[in-house]
Amino acid sequence: MENCSIEVHNLTTTYGGAPVLWDVDFELPVGQIIGVIGPNGSGKTTLLKTIMGLLEPSSGFVKIFNQDLDKIRERVAYVPQRESVDWDFPASVYDIVMMGRYRKHNLFRRTNKTDIDIVNQSIEKVGLTEFKNRQIAQLSGGQQQRVFIARALAQRAELYLMDEPFVGVDAATESSILSLLQEMKNDGKTVLIIHHDLQTVSDYFDYLVLLNTRLIAKGTPQEVLTKENLTNAYGGQLTLLAKVASLIKENEFPIREKDMDF
């Protein structure tokens, strides 16, 4: 692909030996809204975390805009799953969105006027201006989701990776997030979104990646959403891969989004 936003090359990621992503290989276009779909536990979150360098792949590599992630980190923004943090944290909406401005080179500096302007604009874009000084614990789930999106907007990136931004969001918020995505696309940004609702995928996305431990299909929604592909990914009988994954789930590892660290 000539204009390539993300190149994932033969990527394998494991938790304690068992592969969760297995030889996944694809290239994604620039300037489109791209959906990643697949059943629960199919490795979508793992894929995003590996792309963002939060998990070390056991083999393969990822390139973003044809470069190593570390060279272009500031051009990529990440929206983690909402449940991955404790929202009972002593901070306001403004404080959290300001974290989008924190970078290695300004970590020890005070905020400047540009940062403040960008943060205010980002809050405005997601429609939270009247909640700007509200404590994040006192927000609804949908509002918390929008805080995360605003924080990513404040990063002023070119590529946005979002983990299930539509979960727990009402119809009105969903459509306002959608029009925001459209606006971002018109500005030439690339957005990669993990999505759950198969009903809406063909309306929302220009390009799809269908995943179940292995890459099942990729391409335009028409190409991907065939009966055969969907049966392969979601199909009635468990594939061997899915069995292995559920073994991991039941016996040894609790489902935790947060990495264990201290």
Partner: protein, 425 residues
């Protein structure tokens, strides 16, 4: 009484060192502990504190006596070893963090106790003080140590000032911080080192067994009082220093009583009090709020009935009325009603005129607002829900008291109604 006066007037010069020492120790641990609390690292503090004992003993053996530099150095090393070991066990085995902490904590602590008995059986001069490291003896703080604790405090305050954003971002969302390219490993290293340092500073005064309470409890108590991290830090420091100095006093006044348990008990008391009395989350606040709401609802109901009476009698809203008139539109107990009218008068919404009353300009606005909200809500229920005309009044009752101006605007827009709707259900 005399001991208290001696204590607060620093008659005994040692008291100055004790108080200064406690201020340094407790401020350090409260500040760094707030981040440990927010990162949900309560248990690791406990592991570090217990793990300091063998380090202290090793320092003592190396130095041959109670040299604070050696003791702190040893403590710092084994404290770090403990966090490293917990990390290692979790990453390399299937053992979970809580179990790993339990293993490391008890092993290192047991090793420390063994070393302690070795020291006590060997012929070291001045070994008696080592016992203090178990439960703490603030009275043992001397001048040199105060300088060292002061330096540790300074290091922690300066580092927290410069690393504030860094600590904040890894505490709230580690993965996001890493994804933005922040040096999370380094930040974590700094935070852990400062935690070990703060704990190491406190073990002589507080003891290894209870020192971890100084890391977590002030932050936990402060969390009840503030939603703002900076304020929370300040409150945690105040609580901790207060308990530290008070605990030091108790142990000073009763020679030989260990300091640690007293400090921790006082801190725990503060935490319980915070839980009961604090704003927003506390029990007392909720009770007060419920009462306040009740009073608000009652006075607003009076204002509403004043409007309704004038409307019914087709009088101008500014005309005077008698208290008894209101009983014809709404059921009030006379005693309650009179109390409510006095309240409204105090607020300047109502003016007394002989035995009668009339609404002030402000009162007119307020009573119109309430009636309007009530009726807008009735309309809304009628239009948007399956309620019928006989039930909307009950459904709208009480709601007018909580509707905010923003919702009022939205209702207005959605229903396309300006002014006060005529129909009342």
């Amino acid at each position: 009484m005399q001991t208290l006066i001696d204590f607060i007037t620093f008659k005994d010069p040692n008291v100055i060192y004790v108080v200064l020492g406690m201020i340094c120790i407790n401020t350090s641990s409260a500040v760094i502990g707030t981040f440990a609390f927010l990162r949900k690292r309560a248990l690791i503090g406990d592991a570090i504190a217990h793990a300091l004992l063998p380090g202290v003993c090793l320092g003592f053996i190396l130095a041959g006596d109670k040299n604070i530099i050696y003791l702190l150095g040893g403590a710092f090393l084994t404290g770090w070893l403990a966090t490293f070991l917990v990390d290692y066990i979790v990453n390399q085995t299937k053992i979970k963090q809580d179990a790993a902490i339990g293993i490391v904590l008890s092993t290192l602590f047991a090793f420390g106790i063994v070393l302690m008995s070795v020291i006590q059986n060997g012929d070291y001069a001045n070994e008696g003080g080592l016992n203090n490291f178990l439960f703490g003896q603030a009275a043992a703080i001397n001048k040199d140590e105060v300088y060292i604790f002061g330096i540790i405090l300074l290091v922690i305050l300066v580092a927290t000032y410069f690393f504030y954003r860094a600590f904040l971002s890894i505490s709230f969302n580690y993965d996001f911080a890493a994804s933005a390219g922040l040096p999370v490993k380094t930040i974590e290293f700094v935070l852990t080192s400062l935690t070990v340092l703060a704990i190491a500073a406190g073990i002589q005064a507080l003891g290894v067994v209870l020192m971890s309470a100084l890391i977590i409890t002030p932050a936990a108590a402060a969390r009840f009082w503030s939603n703002n991290l900076r304020v929370m830090l300040l409150i945690a420091v105040v609580f901790s220093v207060f308990s530290g100095v008070l605990g030091a006093y108790v142990s000073y006044a009763n020679a030989g009583v260990p300091t640690g348990p007293w400090v921790v008990l006082i801190l725990s008391l503060i935490t319980i009090i915070s839980f009961v009395f604090s704003t927003k989350k506390g029990i007392l606040y909720r009770i007060l709020l419920a009462n306040k709401n009740k009073r608000k609802i009652f006075t607003e109901n009076i204002l509403k009935s004043i409007f309704q009476w004038h409307e019914k009698k087709q009088k101008d809203i500014a005309e005077p009325f008698a208290a008894a008139d209101l009983l014809s539109v709404r059921l009030f107990s006379t005693r309650e009603l009179n109390k409510g009218l006095v309240k409204l008068k105090q607020k300047g919404l109502l003016v007394a005129d002989g035995t009668k009353f009339y609404l002030s300009a402000e009162g007119i606005v307020e009573s119109k607002r309430i009636v309007r909200l009530h009726r807008l809500w009735e309309h809304y229920l009628l239009r948007r829900t399956s309620m019928d005309e006989n039930h909307v009044h009950a459904g709208a009752e009480a709601i007018e008291h909580v509707l905010s101006p923003e919702i009022e605007k939205e209702l207005e827009k959605e229903l396309g109604i300006l002014g006060i709707p005529k129909d009342d259900y």
